[in-house]
């Protein structure tokens, strides 16, 4: 309260002189030149000029006058013609009047800073979290670790009580899917259900965190944020042959529990971190290049600006939970982020250019194999293109003979046209087919070998002496490249640092050092948002919803934290534990909050108090993500293949889709490779896997912090009728028969155990048996498999 009063007092003090400046020096000019259209009566564009307040409120384009900053004032921008139409309409303000107006506005006291810190949420957000004291709660027996104390004290304050613990089967399934994205085997469930050792649960968590499938699961969350894809998007959607190395890097980073601060630094400035940085650190830079890329853009300066805008928008969302991108064309409408800060942030990348950098494969990437495969495909490509040359030479000769041309006639090249034209009588259908086959084959190998090149899909900085100086950055009015305004230097967000001075840039050898400066600032324990944002992401994936439910927007327009002290506790613990994600997973999973059932007996009453379960009086439901769903089907069918990483796997796609591409060909991988986990499938922006597409996969073009979970009919088509489901169901049936033997009851029992880790109820078993009445067991079990894969129980974790 004292702060609020002080603040109001401060505004009054400031407001008075501004009013005077307005009355004496601004209003007379405006009345003379603008009153015809912007009077109270007419209010063109919603703007009236009768008082300072009205100018501050502004018209339909927003605040017309920014005290203390004439160049940011819309009023001035329109008068100067920086914005269309130039004002006053059809005329021009005399130069001396403009000068007076500009001076008067610049002399006014700025409002911005004072109004902005008035928001208690932003005040909390923009200050470094302090370790909060652990709150007291009555039901001490329920508190397993401090997380529970934070949760329980809130619940008790609203007279709510936690749900009973989840049963052992639900719990082990929850932990398996959460940590490794796959279901436990029936044996693991049975073992856990009967294991009464007090540390059984903790040991389970430790086991799964040490499992390499943990990285495969959690890397997917990060790849969503990183808008990871292996193609450019836009018309050509060209392949990024070694982008897969970034995917494998992320998997390894999670598996190694790479400290998060280090993880940030490598992705933003890996090349600058130390001299002769290892290949992994170049690979990590892929993060900066994952945005879309218009390869055939004919305006390269604009393309560069588009890429810079994309990076400047994505990085703050991902690492800072701030929507800095909203300030590209104007000051942020909600958060204290001036437009100037967008371009100061962008300036950290002014020297950055895209570059495929030589990066030898590291030991874990199996360099010998990579080398062998690259050579092999290169050779095969050469052989194939020689074969193509030969056949084309032969076909050309035929054309020359048929057309009676001289051997060196230029028009002989038209034989390719004749080959394309199905009606041309020179060639037979077989010749055309053969040519197409050889050509396609050559393409297959020429596509393949670049994937094995020891190259990182990365960036580098262009600095002196390569160029005279690092490119300059300007504030761009309206975000338009043509409207260069003030020149700016790299600088951190002023809402966090409280300053708008340029950042100190460290020396970085042949690079600019700018990215290191930014990375160190983001990955610093003094940064108020970095740790909170990441802990909120972790919480969201474990508990189904974030403490802040807009995980990449912590700003004013985003969600308010349901439990800010808890988030601060997690953030401070995270930094204390040296940014270890595994330590924090374990802490969250060990809490009793996590181990609750999804059903609370008092749900009806509690829903009235807290309809969205923000206080966690029960566990939230989670639906399997598209990748987890596909992986789980493969797993229960006993067909999931381990992957050593490496270039992406091309899944079968319908032939009419495959034939529709203008700029690339699609060659499905071997059947066995196609059974790897979905994270290893090739991510082409214009060719989404059907299952991933209908089950709300990330769209790959923009950063995705939270997937939606829609329920639409095409999901039913895909999961019931697709070749994938039906084929895997067939293998599932075989597996059931192998494991259960010939007895029907045992088969049904086994089918349920494999699919949902439990025995069927009597009714369920009885109904399943009806499938066997008309069909032989393998067919009946295949149908049962399809049904089990479609169960709500298969898709939703309770």
């Amino acid at each position: 309260m004292p702060r609020l009063i002080a603040f109001l007092w401060a505004t009054c003090l400031i407001a008075a002189p501004n009013d005077a400046v307005f009355k004496d020096r601004i209003q007379p000019l405006l009345t003379e030149h603008c009153n015809a259209c912007h009077s109270q009566a007419k209010a063109s564009g919603g703007l009236t000029i009768a008082s300072l307040d009205q100018l501050l409120t502004g018209g339909k384009h927003g605040r017309a006058l920014t005290p203390g900053n004439a160049s940011q004032s819309l009023l001035i921008q329109y008068i100067k013609g920086e914005k269309n139409p130039r004002m006053p309409l059809g005329g021009e303000l005399p130069a001396d009047a403009l000068a007076k107006l500009t001076a008067a506005i610049n002399e006014m006291a700025p409002l911005a800073e004072t109004t902005k810190s008035a928001d208690p949420h932003m005040d909390w957000l923009l200050h470094k979290p302090q370790p909060p004291s652990i709150p007291a709660a009555q039901n001490k027996a329920w508190i397993r670790n401090p997380i529970d104390a934070f949760i329980l004290s809130k619940l008790e304050s609203k007279s709510l009580t936690p749900a009973p613990p989840a049963d052992r089967r639900s719990l082990i399934r929850r932990v398996y899917f959460d940590l490794i994205g796959l279901p436990p085997s029936p044996e693991e469930v049975q073992e856990f259900a009967t294991n009464t050792a007090p540390d059984a649960y903790e040991k389970l968590i430790d086991k799964l965190l040490a499992d390499s499938r943990y990285g495969e699961r959690w890397a997917r969350h990060w790849l969503d944020l990183a808008r990871f894809a292996e193609s450019d998007g836009f018309a050509i959607d060209g392949e990024r042959p070694t982008a897969w190395r970034y995917r494998d890097y992320v998997i390894r980073a999670f598996n190694k529990d790479k400290p998060y601060d280090q993880f940030i630094k490598e992705q933003l400035a890996g090349d600058e971190l130390e001299r002769g940085a290892g290949a992994d650190r170049l690979t990590a830079l892929g993060f900066l290049r994952m945005g879309t890329w218009e390869a055939d853009a004919n305006f390269k300066t604009q393309l560069r600006q588009d890429v810079l805008n994309e990076i400047t928008t994505t990085i703050p969302q991902v690492f800072l939970g701030l929507t800095v991108g909203c300030a590209r064309c104007h000051d942020h409408k909600y958060d204290p982020i001036p437009q100037r800060d967008f371009y100061r942030f962008q300036s950290f990348f002014a020297a950055t250019r895209v570059e495929d950098r030589p990066a030898p494969f590291t030991e874990v990437e199996n360099p010998a194999l990579m080398k062998r495969l690259m050579r092999q495909y290169e050779d095969e490509s050469e052989t194939a293109s020689e074969g193509l040359k030969k056949i084309e030479e032969r076909l050309k000769q035929k054309y020359i003979t048929a057309k009676n041309l001289k051997p060196d006639d230029k028009n002989a090249a038209d034989f390719l046209k004749a080959l394309k034209d199905q009606k041309d009588p020179i060639y037979t259908a077989d010749e055309r087919k053969e040519h197409e086959r050889v050509k396609t084959n050559a393409r297959k190998f020429s596509d393949a070998f670049p994937r094995y090149r020891p190259v990182a899909y990365a960036v580098s900085d262009v600095v002196p002496p390569q160029v005279p100086s690092v490119a300059e950055t300007y504030v761009l009015a309206g975000g338009e490249l043509a409207n260069k305004g003030e020149k700016v230097e790299p600088g951190f967000l002023s809402c966090i640092t409280g300053k708008s001075e340029p950042a100190t840039i460290p020396f970085a050898g042949g690079s600019s050092g700018r990215r290191t400066a930014l990375a160190s600032w983001i990955a610093s324990p003094d940064n108020p948002v970095t740790a909170r944002v990441m802990m909120n992401r972790l919480w969201q994936h474990h508990f189904g919803d974030g403490i802040i439910r807009t995980p990449s927007d912590f700003g004013k327009n985003g969600d308010r934290p349901s439990n800010p002290q808890l988030l601060d506790y997690l953030a401070t613990q995270f930094m204390e534990k040296k940014w270890s994600l595994k330590a924090m997973h374990k802490m969250m999973l060990l809490s009793n909050t996590y181990q609750q059932s999804t059903e609370n007996p008092d749900a009806k009453r509690f829903t009235e108090v807290d309809p969205d379960n923000r206080l966690m009086w029960r566990m939230n439901w989670q639906r399997l993500e598209a990748e987890t769903l596909r992986d789980s089907i493969l797993a229960v069918a006993g067909r999931l293949e381990k992957s050593p990483g490496g270039p992406g796997v091309f899944l079968d796609i319908p032939s009419d889709v495959a034939e529709g591409f203008e700029f690339f060909k699609w060659f499905p991988s071997d059947e066995k490779d196609q059974r790897r986990r979905t994270i290893y499938t090739f991510q082409r922006r214009s060719v989404m896997n059907q299952m991933v597409e209908v089950f709300d996969g990330a769209n790959m073009s923009e950063t995705c912090a939270r997937r939606s979970t829609t329920t639409v009919a095409p999901q039913a088509f895909t999961l019931l009728n697709s070749e994938f489901t039906n084929n895997e169901a067939k293998h599932f049936a075989q597996r059931v028969i192998e494991l259960a033997g010939p007895a029907r009851e045992k088969q049904i029992d086994k089918a349920f155990w494999l699919a949902v880790d439990r025995a069927p109820s009597a009714i369920e078993a009885q109904r399943a048996a009806t499938l066997f009445e008309k069909s032989p067991p393998d067919q009946a079990l295949t149908r049962l498999g399809v049904v089990l894969f479609n169960l709500n129980e298969f898709l939703y974790l309770d």
Binding site: F234, A235, D237, T292, E294, A297, N298, F299, T323, G325, C326, C329, H332, K333, Y334, A482, T550, S552, D553, G555, N557, T598, E599, N600, A603, R618, R623, P654, G660, S686, M688, Q690, N699, S701, S708, T709, T711, V712, A713, P714, A716, F717, L720, N721, S722, N726, S761, I763, E764, R767, A768, L771, S775, R783, V786, V787, N790, L791, N792, E793
Partner: protein, 470 residues
């Protein structure tokens, strides 16, 4: 509310075991359909209930179709130096000498309104009294992929919701047995970036466009594989429902579970309804012929236009039909290229407009015809022998028909040579605002929170083109 749910549960339970999916189907029809596609009230009284969006990919030349420029004859074959012209959208366009080319097509006036139409569109020429032309549209980007995104989503980058998604998000659908937003591409060459052009972006996936194919299986995996008979599928669906209902009894805290049971019922109904739309067996031969389905050149576009009529008749909210990617992009051989594309679309679109009108559907159906940009009246001079036209972001002619637009009118004008719009200039987002307005939606109010703000289809702009409103 609980009563309703109990009743539904009772229905399911009492029907379980009799395998009565068909009966279920009937009962479900009668119930108000819940879910994201349930009809929603508009912001104001709508003029149109459905949209048919005819997308002419590649960019149609306005001076050769609906915006005649007699002055071009005077300068025909003249080399011009425009290098002092400023064009920030296409900075390189006028850097080199340009060659003016008069229109090789003949214009005549048609209808009561006397609208000039070139001989490329003999059939559409007979519909001009039902059309509202706008000759002054400007695109903001001269590259095909970006401009197609702009046409569909209002943004030049991939990943934003398309206009069809916004409309279905705003209004839901009148028919719960068919997708609300249907896309009918030409499979010879689908638009750049494929499904991202009809994607729902940050809107929930329920609002994404569903592609219906006019040959082969209409929706991917609509039907079970051949090894699964219709009986077997029904058995699967019944068993699945039994199991899901059983599980629901002990897991009541999750409302999605019931939603998912419903989604399977919808899928089952779609299986029955979609092939009906596609077979067109109930249409007379005369109707099919009027859409050009009896000629090989017009069969594809004609059939898709007829499907569009059937779909809007059944309450589908938004139908988008595409020509092949870049089909109108006549940089060279304008005569050949434009003749071919006009031939493929002229009769089908005229057939559609007349059929809609005759059935009284034109009033409630908004037809929009446009490309991603227009074309210049000239070409680079070094392409002298090629007789083509360039991309033009500064002038494009589009037309609306029906759905509360003012028939027989022309809005806006271009300069004497057709280079750029000079009067009543509108942009893509104004077209979007107009479509929303006619559908009863206000583009300022149709918002969805994403990435830090309430996003709109028209982003930071958008003005309804008032002149086309009836």
């Amino acid at each position: 509310m609980p009563n309703d749910q109990d009743r539904r549960r009772f229905l399911y339970q009492s029907l379980t075991g009799v395998g009565g999916v068909a009966l279920m189907n009937l009962l479900n029809q009668a119930q108000a359909a819940p879910g994201p596609l349930a009809p929603k009230p508009p912001h104001h009284a709508p003029k149109a209930k459905s949209v048919i969006f005819l997308s002419m990919l590649g960019g149609v030349s306005q001076v050769d179709t609906f915006d005649p420029k007699p002055a071009l004859s005077k300068f025909d074959n003249t080399v011009m130096d425009w290098s002092k012209e400023k064009n920030t959208d296409q900075p390189n366009l006028f850097a080199k000498p340009r060659l003016i080319l008069k229109s090789p097509f003949e214009f005549k006036q048609y209808g009561k309104c006397g609208m000039p139409v070139s001989d490329l569109f003999p059939h559409l020429a007979t519909c001009v009294d039902d059309m509202a032309f706008v000759r002054s549209i400007q695109a903001e980007n001269g590259n095909h992929p970006a401009a197609v995104f702009l046409m569909n989503t209002g943004a030049v980058i991939p990943g934003r919701p398309s206009v069809g998604s916004w409309v279905t998000f705003g209004l839901g659908s009148e028919n719960q047995n068919l997708p609300a937003f249907v896309v009918l591409p030409d499979f010879r060459s689908i638009p750049f970036s494929g499904s991202q052009q009809w994607g729902s972006g940050f809107l929930p996936a329920s609002y994404q466009g569903t592609v219906l194919r006019w040959k082969g299986e209409p929706i991917r995996d609509l039907n079970p594989p051949e090894s699964v008979s219709a009986d077997a599928q029904r058995e699967e669906m019944d068993l699945l429902r039994t199991y899901n209902q059983e599980w629901l009894k002990t897991h009541f805290s999750n409302p999605d579970l019931q939603g998912r049971i419903d989604a399977y019922e919808l899928a089952y109904r779609m299986q029955a309804e979609v092939p009906g739309v596609l077979s067109l067996t109930k249409e007379s031969q005369a109707t099919k012929d009027s859409y050009g389905m009896n000629e090989p050149e017009t069969e594809s576009f004609g059939k898709r236009c007829l499907m569009a009529r059937q779909l809007v008749e059944r309450g589908v909210r938004f139908v988008q039909i595409y020509t092949p990617s870049q089909s109108w992009d006549s940089h060279t051989e304008l005569i050949k290229g434009h003749r071919k594309n006009a031939k493929e679309t002229d009769k089908p679109i005229a057939g559609l407009l007349k059929d809609l009108k005759q059935r009284g559907l034109l009033d409630s159906t908004l037809v929009v015809w446009m490309g991603e940009f227009g074309r210049t009246p000239d070409n680079p001079a070094d392409l002298r022998d090629k007789a083509g036209r360039d991309h033009n972001t500064r002038a494009m002619t589009i037309f609306f028909a029906g759905g509360g637009t003012k028939p027989g009118t022309v809005t806006g004008a271009t300069d004497d040579l057709g280079f750029k719009a000079v009067q009543d200039i509108y942009r893509m987002r104004d077209i979007h605002a107009t479509v929303l307005h006619l559908m009863g939606l206000n583009d300022m109010r149709l918002t969805y929170y994403s990435a830090g703000r309430n996003m709109r289809l028209t982003d930071t702009g958008g003005a309804v083109i008032k002149q086309v409103l009836a």
